[in-house]
Point group: C2
Amino acid sequence: MNVKSTLREYLRRRGLKVTHQREEIAEIFLDSPHHLSAEELYQQIRESHPQVGLSTVYRTLNLLVQAGLASRREFGDGIARYEPVAENKHHDHFICVRCGAIIEFANQKIEELQSEVAQQNNFTVLRHKLELYGYCEKCRRRR
Amino acid sequence: MNVKSTLREYLRRRGLKVTHQREEIAEIFLDSPHHLSAEELYQQIRESHPQVGLSTVYRTLNLLVQAGLASRREFGDGIARYEPVAENKHHDHFICVRCGAIIEFANQKIEELQSEVAQQNNFTVLRHKLELYGYCEKCRRRR
DNA sequence: CTTTATGCAAAAGGTTTGCAACAGT
DNA sequence: ACTGTTGCAAACCTTTTGCATAAAG
């Protein structure tokens, strides 16, 4: 709902149009588990709105990314995933190499580390991605 | 050269063949700046060996990854990059969002952080990727 | 000789785009 | 009315694959 109104504002500010499709896609995007691919979002949409096209899903996701409301990630399988940009809730990802589970975690020290490294190297850091690959709790036992 | 001999061993151990193409690709892979895409490697190869096909480059890169000699990375533009796996020299990446430069850096604290987070969440971490996105030294001035 | 690799072209798979019909402002 | 958007199909781009030929062991 917050994303929806922010998107509306974003669209109006640039003379773009607030369409049903965009609103629907934004809504489903919000209510879904994180790390949705375009195809998955498309399947969800078509349950309630069978006429929506896959291209519109892609176009709207790109729009959300441009508006800073979504971020696009690639975890190495060639399929892009999108997730809402939560204002104050940055998190990172653990990816299980055995079962493929993607688990979020947050760690305060990462922020410190980030600015420290940035200073050392004269970078201005806008954002970061940290991914840990290994075995999740279940899979480490079964290994 | 180390990669080349390790690759040779890897191939022999599984009854695969040591071909000119594989040796050439491994060699160029070594001598090149990091973060090479398959296409870039292909262009390099063809300067000295115009008969080599792009599929062979892909196949050999996959081989190198399977052998643990290369790692495949995706930085968000849909093109996979490959880099040699340096045994004891883990590093991470800074990506400039303005000029696209990819700069490596290393930070010891990352390792500590990693095991800490792993413990907290009951993961077994095999490897990690940390990417910082922002402005590099040049671009932050010109901004 | 037998088996695996190569190069080419074609296929795949995800994502983007051209265009005529359509909807928002 | 005007301008931007949609859905469809086709195009695109990177990566993979099938197959006949070539090279390695």
